[in-house]
Amino acid sequence: MLENSIFAILALFLLFGSLGMISFKQTVFSGLSFLLAMMALAGLFALLENSFLFLAQIMVSVGAVVVISLLVMLSVNVNEQNLPNEPAKFRWMLFSAILVSPFALLMYKSLTHMNREFVETVAGYGSLKMMGATLFSDWVLPFEIVSVLLLTAMVGAIIIARKEPANDA
């Protein structure tokens, strides 16, 4: 019962956060709504007894990604007339919601088709120890590939965002 009410509260925050994210005109308000949604998602991870994923979501998604997005939004500092003019925004939203709804139904049906229940978790489920044991036994190669990916993304971001063109002539 308690679980259900916590889930309802978190789902409410998540839905309103993401709805606000796609409907606010001001970019910073969208970013703050997105921050709310990401924190609610971290709460859902905690509800699923995934304590390390909860920590990673708080530290990386909320603490790094969303905060740096807000920093970029504030440093770009768009004034009102440079924002895109979207008079038919809500009509487009309704139209695309109708367009997407069959796909959403398909996704929900196929996800719930397994008809499985939550099992009793073993001791230490979701802990850092068990996570690390799985990560460094079965998932070593993806882990290393992700490290290369992060390095590549860092170099690419620096090259794209710097001011003067590369003098490689």
Binding site: N4, M21, L44, L48, L99, M107, D138, W139
Partner: protein, 103 residues
């Protein structure tokens, strides 16, 4: 607690991401919609991990968080570069690769 509400929530989040990409023209909102779709997949992976009772799904979700961070860094750099060129966040302005002008 049954997994169905989690699946319904993840489905709604994914759909909201698609709706945001289709209906908005602000580059930042498009970026955050992509992040929302990736995060809803993360939620599904965590539910799967809990259903099976082992950590494999959670580890994929952890790797996905790292991929999301890399995507965020690149996308923000691209937005800053585009804004520096044209002084706007309207995604319709950036049509360098489209054939609309040459038709």
């Amino acid at each position: 607690m049954t997994p169905e509400p989690f699946f319904a929530l993840a489905t709604v989040l994914f759909s909201l991401g698609i709706v945001g990409i289709i209906s908005r023209r602000n580059l930042f909102v498009i970026y955050m919609s992509i992040e929302l779709m990736l995060s809803s997949v993360n939620l599904i992976l965590a539910v799967f991990s809990r259903l099976h009772g082992d950590m494999n799904g959670s580890v994929i979700a952890l790797l996905m968080i790292a991929v999301i961070a890399a995507e965020a860094a690149l996308f923000l750099a691209i937005i800053v570069g585009l804004y520096r060129q044209r002084r706007t966040l309207d995604s319709d302005v950036f049509s360098k690769l489209s054939q609309r002008d040459t038709l």
